[in-house]
């Protein structure tokens, strides 16, 4: 009897841990271990092929703080992130509103907005790079119609940021719109009905009902966009095809921090230093995500 009791107890108290264990085991192997190992590598002089070449303590970190190219890459990353994310979220919200109304062929439109997300990022990169090409690009042709001089999109700083942000938005606006749409549909209709009875305008309904009800979803969307934005890599890489694409332009005008990690690790073969940048980048993402969630939390809840 005792054994049975004990087994029953283990069953009741232990089973939940057993069921969630796979996640934690996988997270431990693929999440926590690399994180800790990267930290370990960052405290060493570590060459890619030669391996560990000795403990250097925080030397890599102090070098990083004085590294102008790192700060340059962080500036690029944040600039592209802001230029991409703010219009993207506004557009996604607007799209979600439209898709939430009674359109003809609604399913068609809803599937339509997600298609860019399903296209390969390499294809997007190549097509957009051609569209933004200096000599034969369609964008320069279009702005030429209204009398604007052709722009060397991938050579100037701000234009390159805008072009890369466009690529990001092209892929992710629809995805975010669908997530927001799902949340919109969960907003109880009677809230709007009673607001209308009270004489609330459409704008008032939007700000006082829709936005607060979307708060958790907005938080999710903002956090995911932040992580994606700070880790931005492929789009700017493809925007600089040919020799030396990892530097993000001749004067590093659009090299993101993720690109700088790869440049240091594989072109420079400085694995320890690259690990340092990766760790600092991780810290930056955590801090920015916290700030974001504080900001989003300021949105008044409905109740």
């Amino acid at each position: 009897m005792h054994l049975r009791d004990r087994l029953a107890r283990i069953d009741i108290h232990g089973a939940p841990y057993f069921f969630i264990a796979p996640f934690f085991i996988l997270f431990g192997i693929f999440g926590a271990f690399p994180l800790v190992y990267t930290l370990w590598v960052s405290l060493h002089d570590w060459s890619l092929l030669g391996g560990n070449e000795g403990w250097v303590g925080l030397e890599n970190y102090s070098e990083l703080l004085a590294d102008g190219y790192f700060w340059n890459s962080l500036l690029n990353t944040f600039a592209i992130f802001l230029i991409a994310t703010i219009p993207q979220l506004i557009a996604a919200l607007a799209l979600a509103q439209v898709l939430n109304s009674s359109l003809r062929a609604l399913t068609f439109w809803r599937i339509g907005v997600i298609i860019p997300c399903a296209t390969s990022v390499a294809a997007v990169g190549i097509i957009f790079t051609m569209m933004f090409a200096r000599d034969f690009g369609v964008v320069n042709w279009l702005i030429g119609l209204v009398g604007v001089e052709p722009i060397a999109w991938n050579q100037e700083r701000l234009p390159s940021w805008i072009a890369i942000a466009t690529m990001v938005d092209w892929r992710w606006t629809g995805y975010n719109a669908l997530i927001l749409l799902a949340a919109l549909q969960a907003v109880p209709k009677d809230l709007y009905e009673s607001a209308r009875l009270d004489g609330a305008s459409a704008a008032r309904q939007f700000w006082s009902i829709t936005i607060p009800m979307l708060r958790p979803t907005l938080m999710f969307v903002v956090t995911v966009s932040t992580i994606g934005g700070i880790q931005l890599f492929t789009e700017p890489l493809l925007f600089n095809p040919g020799a030396n694409s990892i530097t993000g332009g001749d004067t590093r005008q659009f090299q993101t921090s993720a690109m700088y990690v790869v440049e240091q690790a594989f072109t420079g073969q400085r694995f320890g230093y690259a690990a340092t940048i990766a760790w600092i980048l991780f810290v930056v993402i955590v801090v920015v995500s916290l700030v974001n969630s504080l900001l989003v939390r300021r949105i008044r809840s409905v109740d």
């Binding site: 092929l49 020799a243 030396n244 694409s245 530097t247």
Partner: protein, 413 residues
């Protein structure tokens, strides 16, 4: 492992126990398709799968990554000139071909080619030579004619015994084109590399591995000469291997490009059939030079080392090198072939029947080895990047040079 696989499959076929798939990782064009077929025929049960990456920088990054990880590099890999010293520093990651008879094959290669993939103490050889990048100058006959310059390759060669004469010819060309879009050279960087590789027996690093970018006069000389061309307005300012540069071969955006033997295959691909006969080849200013060239190596992590070594020997043999030359124009590193009529008398119909054998072989025989340090690639990237920034008007030449030196010092560590 093979026997266990066969057991698992329950296959009663006698051959199945010997089935091996050899993975060959290369960049660009090596022209091995027919050689693979021959090797597969002579070695039943062997199947060869080649992956070729078009972008050398990307290839080097991936290869380094996979060699460092000890997995995924395949059974046979190509090591490019600029990476050899880097991999020699980790020679234990590759099969030492001296344990497999490489010393007996030594005479097959130009001495410096063999030494280039051998450690300084002479004990380990990680790769066998394929091609060398003997330099010539490819030019567009049709554009030369338009600009009122001679088109015959002997006369063209006579226009530019030196790089100064080359620049003067460029100015004449540009004047003759009367404002049309075509420029004389593709970019400052390619010309810079050609001049640099002719200039000394080492470039950014001396043989002790010290960065000498400021004290080696060959670098500043090549830098100034290349940027002089840009200032003269004779450069199309196109970035190597970019889509615009690729399109430039077809559209005639530039009339000349310094071309190592291996580039003839690339030009033919990019310019396409429509431009057959418009290109020709003359000797390069300033005498012979070398740009590129490779070795084939077997990673230590390969599970099929014996048959992979056999394939490396086969591909890098005289017959293999000649077949690759015929397929894509890569210049053999085997000097016995230099007297072989099959190479010496070869012409390239795409390049107006230019006597490529003669042109490239003449240069190859006099080639002097150029020592490239372990960090050659990142330093070269940094310098070229800064040069492009000057070309695009983002920096003055003196700012560009100081940035190049600063960046080089940084990446050289």
């Amino acid at each position: 492992m093979m026997s266990s696989l066969a057991a698992c499959g329950g296959d009663s076929d006698d051959e199945s126990g010997k089935d091996v798939t050899l993975r060959v990782n290369l960049f660009g064009k090596f022209g091995y398709a027919d050689l693979y077929k021959q090797f597969e025929k002579e070695n039943p049960g062997v199947k060869i799968v080649e992956t070729a990456e078009g972008d050398l920088g990307k290839y080097n990054t991936q290869l380094t990554q996979r060699i460092a990880a000890g997995t995924g590099a395949g059974d046979v890999v190509a090591i490019e000139e600029g990476q050899a010293v880097n991999f020699l520093a980790s020679a234990d990651k590759f099969v030492n071909l001296q344990d497999h008879g490489a010393n007996d094959l030594k005479d097959q290669y130009l001495p410096w080619k063999f030494e280039g993939a051998t450690t300084a103490d002479g004990s380990t050889t990680i790769g066998l030579g394929t091609d060398v990048g003997g330099l010539a100058m490819c030019y567009r006959r049709d554009l030369f004619e338009k600009a009122g310059l001679p088109t015959d390759r002997e006369q063209v060669a006579a226009l530019w015994p030196t790089w100064d004469a080359f620049i003067a010819t460029g100015q004449k060309f540009q004047a003759g084109m009367k404002g049309q879009k075509s420029k004389f050279i593709d970019s400052a960087t390619n010309t810079y590399n050609s001049i640099l590789m002719q200039g000394a027996d080492h470039t950014y690093f001396d043989k002790d591995g010290e960065l000498v970018i400021e004290s080696n006069p060959a670098i500043k000389t090549a830098w100034d000469k290349a940027l002089e061309m840009d200032e003269m307005g004779i450069s199309a300012e196109l970035k190597s291997f970019s889509p615009e540069w690729n399109a430039g071969f077809k559209n005639g955006d530039f009339a000349t490009i310094a071309c190592p033997a291996w580039m003839t295959g690339y030009i033919k691909d990019q310019a396409g059939d429509a431009n057959a006969g418009k290109w020709d080849i003359a000797t390069v200013p300033g005498g012979a030079g070398n740009w590129g060239g490779s070795w084939l190596a077997v990673p230590e992590a390969s599970e099929n080392q014996d048959i992979a070594i056999k394939l490396v020997k086969f591909l890098s043999s005289a017959d293999g090198q000649l077949a690759a030359f015929n397929a894509v124009g890569n210049l053999p590193s085997n000097p016995t072939l230099y007297d072989d009529p099959a190479l010496k008398e070869a012409t390239n119909p795409y390049f107006s029947d230019a006597p490529v054998g003669q042109l490239f072989v003449a240069g190859a025989a006099n080639l002097e080895p150029v020592f490239l340090g372990a960090k050659n690639q990142p330093v070269r990237d940094a310098v070229e990047n800064s040069m492009r920034a000057v070309e695009n008007g983002k920096r003055s030449p003196s700012e560009g040079w100081s940035t190049a030196v600063k960046d080089a010092e940084k990446v050289a560590g």
